[in-house]
């Protein structure tokens, strides 16, 4: 992983817990927002503008976020990464490179 020194945010091990918390909040926020959005749409479309679908959606989002976060904290050796499209393979399907999150050696 030495050549990857150019990567700007090479994470250091002592920052791991902070990063995990960040990820938790970001993920939970996304989930809650998604749940709220689905709840709003559902309440408008199916439930005659009742409010509970919204609460339910946000609850589901919160719960999903919590669960993800719990898993994250409970498995310290999981590596986090990105899929980066890298052209196409021989069968015309899009190919991806998996780039793990930079980690200090």
């Amino acid at each position: 992983m030495a050549p990857g020194a150019s990567a700007p945010a090479a994470s250091r091990s002592e920052d791991e817990v902070g990063q995990k918390i960040d990820r938790c909040f970001a993920d939970s926020l996304l989930k809650v927002t998604g749940g709220v959005a689905i709840g709003i749409v559902a309440s408008v479309a199916f439930f005659k503008s009742r409010s509970w679908p919204i609460w339910f959606g946000s609850g589901v989002g919160l719960g999903t976020g919590w669960s993800n976060c719990r898993h994250d904290f409970a498995s310290p050796y999981v590596l986090h990464g990105k899929r980066v499209p890298a052209g196409q393979d021989s069968q015309g399907k899009p190919a991806y490179n998996i780039i793990t999150e930079q980690h200090k050696q």
Binding site: A2, A5, R12, E14, V17, F73, A74, S75, P76, K104
Partner: protein, 662 residues
């Protein structure tokens, strides 16, 4: 051989033990003897030398041996060896006798050096210091002088002789004239003019006086010439002058000329003397006639012309004339007879005169021929002398050259010998000198080498010292770089500075130093490529680690639930890290220490700048904090490694600087 003999002898005793065999002692004895004898014979068969020895010590055994083993092979071999030896001696010794002289022969390789440069000129010069000849210049000058003299003398002599000759001719003319005048006068008595005769005579006499004077003069000059010639001949330097002979010849010729002209003068004189006689005779006859006339006619003057004679007188005269005529006739006849006598006498006289003249001429001729001969002889003498001299000179030259050649040869051989000797001596001396010289030079060279080495080492030391100092400075720079990184960097990563450049510089400075190279090569990869974190950054990161570590101190390696994390966080809030002094030598009980204590210990160490100990302690963390601390440990370790290596380099630089100081 003797040893082998002795070795051979022992076998006997072991054979003898059969004696012990109890009962048949005699049998055993005989058996032992037989066995011993058999052993001896067998050994003798195997070793001819042994056999020979036995034969010489116990002669009778020989027969036994001969009977048992046949002719001694030793003898045969000996004979064979003898034959062989003879053959070899016949073949070889000749060569060997011939060889020694061959070895002697190439003793002195008569170094064919330069074929002895003997200039023969020197030698010949020594040989031919002959009669000291006057220099050719002097000879030439003398000859020149002589020739000059001779020429003048010849010239004057010739002039004088010519004058004398002319005078003589004049005299002869005068005499002839006188004679003719006399004859005329005598013949023509009536018109006789005696004065003419007298004057002619006087003239002739005067001429004769003059010519005699001239002649004497001429002869004097000729004598002078001769004297000069003689002088020239007497002088050795001019004796061979060809002009001398010519001059002599000329002198002879001139004197001969004078003699001849003298003879002519004498001849004309004689003729004139005859005429004088004629005159005297006529005078005498006239006087006689007058006397007769007087005696007949004493009174008559016959000279009186116009006087008439009488008859008597005339008769007397006629008678007398008759008488006279008779007498004259008689006289004539008588005279005629006498004339014959006279003629014969005159002839005789003439003959005598002729003879005299002839003899005179002869003598003159003789003297001339004699002189000529003398001259010829002299010339031949000169010629032969010159040829002889030439021959002699040639011979002398030849002998001289032969002598010089001989001398040359002798000198050459002597010189060669001398040269050989000299060469040997010189070579020896040169060898000795060269040895000495080479020894001295070797000593000097070695000393010089030592000095050079010392100087070189000193210079090298100087260089090394300077380089070590610079190196030391560079190493300190390196440590500085390590500690502070890129001071212009704004964040923790920008402050990292790769050491590649400075390390390469160090490598270039000390390319041959194995130690430095090894150290530089062993710098951790991270430090050289990316750079280590600065010390302060590492300390800051530890602060972070400390905080997080305390918060997650209760979580184990496999993580925990969110609740566990929360609980750990709450726990850390309530646990206060009391400032505590940990000793450096405190023993840490690995099993009983918790993360809090470890972190507080590490914190103290980091605070004191002792990252080494901090790492050691941090490595004891367990659970989540250990997980969190691993990057810090790695980074710090590489920093410490680099720092240690840099310090090593500094130490090395200091040591080499001290080592190279004098």
């Amino acid at each position: 051989r003797q040893q082998s003999n002795q070795a051979a002898a022992p076998p006997k005793p072991p054979v003898q033990p059969p004696k012990k065999s109890g009962g048949g002692k005699g049998l055993a004895l005989v058996g032992a003897t037989v066995v011993g004898a058999g052993g001896v014979v067998g050994y003798a068969y195997v070793d001819p030398e042994f056999r020979h020895k036995v034969e010489s010590t116990v002669p009778p055994v020989k027969q036994v041996f001969d009977a048992v083993l046949g002719e001694s092979s030793l003898q045969k071999t000996k004979q064979q060896i003898g034959d062989l030896k003879d053959a070899v001696v016949n073949a070889v010794p000749k060569k060997k006798e011939v060889l020694p002289p061959l070895e002697l022969a190439p003793l002195p390789p008569v170094l064919p050096r330069e074929p002895t440069h003997v200039d023969p000129v020197d030698v010949r010069k020594d040989v031919t210091p002959m009669i000291p000849k006057p220099s050719p210049d002097v000879v030439f000058a003398k000859n020149q002088q002589l020739e000059e003299k001779l020429k003048i003398a010849i010239h004057s002599a010739e002039g004088k002789v010519r004058l004398a000759t002319e005078a003589k001719l004049k005299t002869i003319n005068a005499i002839n004239e006188h004679a003719s005048i006399l004859k005329q006068t005598v013949d023509d008595a009536k018109h006789a003019n005696w004065e003419n005769v007298t004057s002619a005579l006087q003239r002739a006499e005067a001429e004769a006086r003059v010519d005699s004077g001239q002649e004497v003069d001429g002869r004097n000059y000729i004598d002078n010439l001769r004297k000069i010639v003689n002088d020239g001949k007497r002088d050795s330097t001019t004796a061979t002058n060809p002009l001398l002979l010519n001059a002599q010849e000329t002198a002879n010729k001139l004197s001969h000329q004078l003699d001849e002209i003298n003879a002519l003068v004498n001849k004309s004189r004689q003729e004139s003397a005859v005429l004088n006689q004629y005159k005297d005779l006529i005078e005498k006859s006239r006087q006689q006639f007058a006397l007769e006339m007087k005696s007949i006619l004493p009174n008559v003057d016959i000279h009186a012309k116009d006087k008439n004679l009488n008859e008597d007188e005339l008769n007397a005269l006629i008678a007398h004339a008759h008488l006279k005529v008779d007498q004259l006739r008689c006289q004539l006849s008588d005279q005629q007879v006498r004339e014959e006598l006279h003629i014969s006498k005159a002839l005789e006289e003439q003959r005598l005169a002729d003879e005299r003249i002839a003899s005179e001429k002869l003598s003159i001729e003789m003297s001339r021929v004699g002189r000529q001969n003398e001259l010829e002889i002299e010339r031949a003498l000169v010629e032969s002398r010159s040829s002889w001299e030439g021959e002699l000179e040639n011979q002398l030259k030849r002998t001289a050259s032969a002598h010089s050649e001989h001398l040359e040869q002798v000198i050459r051989t002597q010189r060669q010998l001398f040269e050989i000797e000299q060469n040997q001596k010189v070579e020896e001396a040169v060898l000795q000198e060269r040895n000495l010289h080479s020894k001295q030079v070797g000593a000097a060279l070695s000393r010089l080498e030592g000095i050079e080495e010392a100087l070189g080492s000193r210079v090298a030391l100087d260089n090394e010292n300077r380089r070590a100092k610079q190196f030391w400075i560079a190493c300190h720079n390196l440590i500085d770089t390590l500690k502070h990184g890129n001071k212009a960097g704004n964040n923790i990563d920008e402050r990292r500075l790769p050491l590649n450049e400075s390390l390469n510089l160090l490598k270039e400075v000390n390319p041959e130093d194995e130690f430095v190279n090894a150290i530089i090569d062993s710098f951790p990869k991270q430090a050289t490529t990316v750079g280590t974190y600065t010390e302060q950054d590492l300390k800051n990161r530890f602060e972070q680690l400390y905080k997080i570590g305390r918060k997650t101190a209760s979580i184990d390696e496999n993580g925990g639930t969110l609740g566990a994390y929360f609980w750990s966080y709450v726990k850390s809030l309530f646990l206060v890290d009391m400032p505590q002094q940990y000793g450096n030598l405190d023993a840490i009980d690995v099993n009983n220490t918790d993360n809090y204590e470890i972190l507080s210990r590490a914190k103290q160490y980091v605070h004191n700048g002792d990252l080494d100990k901090a790492i050691r302690v941090v490595q004891l963390l367990k659970g989540q904090p250990a997980h969190l601390a691993r990057d810090w440990i790695v980074d710090t370790r590489s920093y410490l490694e680099s720092r240690l290596l840099a310090q090593l380099l500094v130490a090395h630089a200091a040591v080499s600087s001290i080592r190279s100081t004098y």
